[in-house]
Symmetry: C2
Subunit: 334 residues, 2 copies
Amino acid sequence: MHKVVCLPRLSRVAVCGGTHGNELSGVYLVRELLKEEKKAMEEEEEEEKPVSVVLVLSNPWAIQQCRRYVKTDLNRCFTHASLNGPLSDSAPYELIRSKELNTLLGPKGSPEAVDLVCDLHNTTANMGLCLIAYSDCDWICLHTFKHLQASTNIPMRYIHFDVPKEESYSLDSVGKHGFAMEIGPQPHGVVRSNIYTAMKFGVQHMLDWVRFFNSGTIIEGGFVDVFTMVKHIDYPRDSETHNIIAAIHPQLQDRDFCLLHPEDPLFQTFSGETLRYKGKEPLYPFFINECAYYEKGIALSLARKRRVMIPAIRVQTEQEQQASEQGFGSEEEE
Amino acid sequence: MHKVVCLPRLSRVAVCGGTHGNELSGVYLVRELLKEEKKAMEEEEEEEKPVSVVLVLSNPWAIQQCRRYVKTDLNRCFTHASLNGPLSDSAPYELIRSKELNTLLGPKGSPEAVDLVCDLHNTTANMGLCLIAYSDCDWICLHTFKHLQASTNIPMRYIHFDVPKEESYSLDSVGKHGFAMEIGPQPHGVVRSNIYTAMKFGVQHMLDWVRFFNSGTIIEGGFVDVFTMVKHIDYPRDSETHNIIAAIHPQLQDRDFCLLHPEDPLFQTFSGETLRYKGKEPLYPFFINECAYYEKGIALSLARKRRVMIPAIRVQTEQEQQASEQGFGSEEEE
């Protein structure tokens, strides 16, 4: 007898691209999905959809300029404090836009928020397809991941940023559930067909899973690996100019999620010297040499891997949902 | 009996980085060379160098912002017309800077110009190391290339842009001889150790060759392959929005310098359709999916390959150089 966790229906899902305006897979994928949606609306009768999908181009001004952001990183503007602070006339564009998106998809933390936000990103790091989320016990996010991982040969990982709910800062935190879908390697400002296709696959299978979940079937549990972010490492820098004086070591470059041991090569200085990893614990590197993180002082991030048991789940019946909204429990034995 | 072409000594060589501010290998390499130069000057007695090397960070403002350019592409500002036109108070930064660089390294076309300009660039395309020049009969450029190609296993090509001298537009055209040293693949705004090392190798071997040439040795001739640019191909675009509707086909991506035949796959649309190459002549693609060329409307360039015979050369003696400056010939039979 396994415990089956009953969870509310996922009626509204948001798929967002261009939160960073130079991460092009998401921009072109959302545009393509908008085109398909328009075509379907022209061709078909209006019919009720099992799930409503909101398609969003998050930062249109940055997309137009093919830049990560115009004034400030939009994907850091969704903290509780930022969303609920005052908005002056001279507020940066992205702060204004974050409040618009919060109105459209949230408000964050409210019952009106969309059920799931999937925010599309690219990285220059060799990370394959990753779901990045704030929780290691959000069964919706973890089940989506498990389903995607079982559906493809693309290397796929779940990254957990251990940040308290109030301080969660990215667009996907506006939904009741949410994650960033991060795919690389791809240079920013470039669209590579293989990366675009992998993202399209990821979004389609995510939506398939949501429909499957909504259908009422019991979805089996099991184990998944979760990478929890432990710390960031900056590039070695010149103490006067603050310029970097080394690049990621060739033996580490492109080896995201390959265990880094103490004394393994970490950097190679521009004069040719090898600098080694001085940590005491072997950890998993990721976001190795991500372009946008030079300015954030991050050469790579390090994670601990843990196996998480996720329970079987099924969608609540309408009765259960009503009961749950009145404050009753939502777990049952099968 | 082979004809040996006698050419003037290469006394002053310029190595330039950061003509595009987000192509980081050149930026970090020039900074490193400046550091080495400073150290050498502190440690050593002043001694006469066999060749004087001018190290230049071409576009400091763009480097600071890690952008290709601030107002306009600096590497298109060095035409005869642009350099000799008037400079208004509202002139874009790069136009002002191009005139400064012309004063420092030129004036273009004058006897005072540096003997050789090596301008360092990166591309997101899988091009290995390329020398890009305007001439297919500049023996200095072609001999440098031949020497580099013989010294390494890095894939290495010579690209010839068939543009009249007056219209040559890039920084390297300011020198008596000059080429861009283009290396990829590397995302812009990123430095990869392997690409940095390949560029460092290229610059060091280029300078070694210049010293070797200046030493007076006869340098053997031979054949080299030259890729002459024939035409550019743009991405397929939406007729209304002008947005691109396809990416480079996965079968073409990263296959720079692999012969493209009529009917070979060229693009894959965002809905999954394959578009084919409709040209009648097989040609060699390069700059496939270069980030900076999206705005220029170039998805890839196509070249014809030709084998060029280059003669043996040696540096002119002082007497020959004086005679040559007085208008006498500079070729001899050996």
